[in-house]
Structures are given as C-alpha cells and as structure tokens.
C-alpha cells in the first residue's frame, strides 16, 4: 500500500479497497464524502436530528465492520444508504414496540380513507423550482406516519421495488402497494394545501 496516495483525489472504489485493508484514513475520506447523504436519508425517515445523527454514526461503524461483504454490485453510497435504512427500520420497529403498536399494522386499517379522497386535478408542484419543491415535499413528508413515509423513501428515494420493500418492512407486497398508494394520495393533497397557503 502506497503512503503517497492523495485520499481526497482517490476514487471511491480505491478508498473502499484500502478500507478493506484496514486503512482508516481511506475510510475517513469515504465518511467525509458521503456523510451528508447518509444523514439526510436517516433524517428523511426518522424526522429527528438526534436520531438521524445516532443512526448515521452507527451506520458508518457498521459499514466499516461489514466492508468485506461489499462486493461493488451497487455503489458504495447506495450500499451505505441500505445499511442506514435498515437501522432506521430497526429503530422505528423498536419505537412501535415501545408504544405497543405494530409497524405492520400501523395505518393500514384506515377503512380506505385514501379511496375517498378527491383527486387533486391541478398539479400542485407545477412551476416550482427544484429546491422549493424539495422543501415542500419535505414539509409534506413530515405529516406522514412512519410506515407511509418509509414506503415512500424506499420506493422513491432508494428506488426499491415492491418486493424488496416488502422484504425489508416485513410485510406483504399488497401492504406495500396500499401504503404507497395512501402516502402518494396524502402527499398530493398536502402539496395542494401548501400551494394554496402560499397563494393566499
């Protein structure tokens, strides 16, 4: 292993390889590069700064200890966000257990409320700048339950298929579809409401 490497200029793949050889400096560079993305993903799911920070830290520790299991099928950042999502799911389940609820059942028995919502006919996000749109989506995500937000984050931000989400959330594909459907309909309604508020 050369000592003259410029870590800040090295590719992720090289840093990963060096990290696998227990080069902590290489891993520090990877953490520095991707820590914001990991934190943002944890925050998207948990909606809590302290929890997002703790999960980020735990994810990086876990990442280091599991590096041998990373074979480069996905990018390192994608692999790390998967670890992060799993940690978020663990914490959400733990919190639900503490509240004597089940994440598998949460909000699934709403009696088809989502089916009775009026369709939002005008696109509430039309004409918004990307940053403004992201802020609106962030506000709307805040209003969703953990299970609905989790389904959205995994499908839209992590690009996971129904089957993969079902596996990770430990529920059926039908439940995933139902959660996504409700979450999207509620988001459309919330975004329309935020748009109207801005227009007043």
């Amino acid at each position: 292993m050369s000592d003259t490497i410029d870590y800040s200029q090295a590719e992720d793949t090289e840093l990963v390889q060096r990290s696998k050889e227990r080069d902590m400096q290489a891993y520090e560079e990877l953490v520095a590069r991707h820590r914001d993305k990991i934190y943002a993903r944890a925050f998207s799911m948990m909606r809590n700064e302290d929890e997002a920070l703790d999960i980020s830290q735990e994810a990086w520790v876990k990442g280091w200890r599991r590096l041998k299991q990373f074979h480069g099928q996905a990018s390192f950042a994608t692999w790390m966000t998967r670890i992060t999502i799993n940690l978020c799911l663990d914490l959400i389940r733990k919190k639900k257990r503490q509240r004597a609820e089940s994440i598998e059942q949460l909000d699934d028995d709403l009696g088809g409320v989502e089916r009775q919502m009026d369709v939002v006919e005008v696109n509430p996000t039309a004409g918004l700048e990307r940053q403004e749109l992201r802020e609106k989506i962030d506000q709307a995500l805040e209003q969703l339950s953990d299970s609905h937000r989790t389904a959205i984050v995994m499908h839209e931000f992590q690009q996971l298929e129904y089957k993969e989400i079902a596996k990770r959330m430990n529920c059926s594909i039908g439940t995933v579809m139902s959660r996504l459907f409700y979450a999207r309909r509620r988001l459309a309604s919330l975004l329309a409401g935020l748009r109207k508020k801005d227009e007043l």
């Binding site: 902590m24 520090e28 953490v31 520095a32 820590r35 914001d36 990991i38 934190y39 943002a40 993903r41 925050f43 998207s44 700064e49 920070l53 980020s56 830290q57 735990e58 990086w60 520790v61 280091w64 200890r65 088809g112 089916r115 369709v119 939002v120 006919e121 696109n123 509430p124 996000t125 039309a126 990307r130 749109l133 992201r134 802020e135 989506i137 962030d138 959205i152 984050v153 499908h155 839209e156 931000f157 298929e161 129904y162 039908g174 579809m177 139902s178 996504l180 459907f181 999207r184 309909r185 988001l187 459309a188 975004l191």
Partner: protein
Amino acid sequence: MKLETQLSIQALIDGELSDAKRREVERLLAADAGAKALHAELANTVGALRDGELARELPESREFFWSKVADEIEAAERSEARSVRSPGAKAWWTRLLAPLGAAAALVVAFTVFQSGGPQGGPHVVRPGVETVADTELELPNSVTLHLFQEDATVIWVDTTADLN
C-alpha cells in the same frame, strides 16, 4: 372504483405490471375519466418525488463526527477481540478440567482403597458420616462410625468374615 383497480393504476406507473395487465389498465384509462384523473394525480406526485429529497448537512464538523465514528470502531473491535479471545481461554481451562478431575478421582479412589475397609475392602465415607476409628471396640472385622448429624454411633460388623 375498486381498490384493486386503483392499485393497478399505481402499479402501471411503477412499472410493476405484466404486459397483459398493463394493456388491460391502459384500456381502462382510455375509457374511464375517473381512472385517468387518478393516474394523472399519482403520476404528478411520483414525478415531484423523483429527485425530491431535501439535501441536508450533517450538523457536526468533519473532525468531530469522524472522531466519534473512529472511537466507536475501535471500541467495537476491542470488544470483538475480547470475545474472540475469551472462548479460547475458556477452552484452555475446560481442557484442563477433565484430566485434572479424572486424576483427582483416581487419587481419591486409590487412597480409599489403600486405607482399606474390613479385610482390606473398600471403605466408603458418605457426607455427614465420619469414621471414628476402625475396630474402636476392638471387635475384629468391624468399623465404628459416628453420625454427627444424628449424634449417633454405628458399629458395622462384617458377619461374612471369619471371626476366628
């Protein structure tokens, strides 16, 4: 509209339908205004969410955050190293216990055998039973026991032995 139909419209947008089912849902969209409106709403939401995650900065400096991660990694590795070492040390002790136990048992058995019972036979001492003395009453082929718990003395005479 049935929930199943609504979920099929969503699955069309998500690319999760078989070809046959996709064609069926597309025919429905062409014929049903309600289905078409729902499809538009879902598609708009999916479109907005694409690349819709708000970027956030981790609210700690690079050095401080890394120091916490590095400390945790070192603590985890120390703990792992201990747990790897421990079973080995335990096995070392365990490996010694069996032969030592066997050797101790042999020594005890040999000692008991050597001390002899009546006519040199085995002399078994049980808990709560203490041998006061062989032939304390000067009876041949006898053993005198004092039972401390019962505060009693028992004299065992081997009647099968030759008293002469």
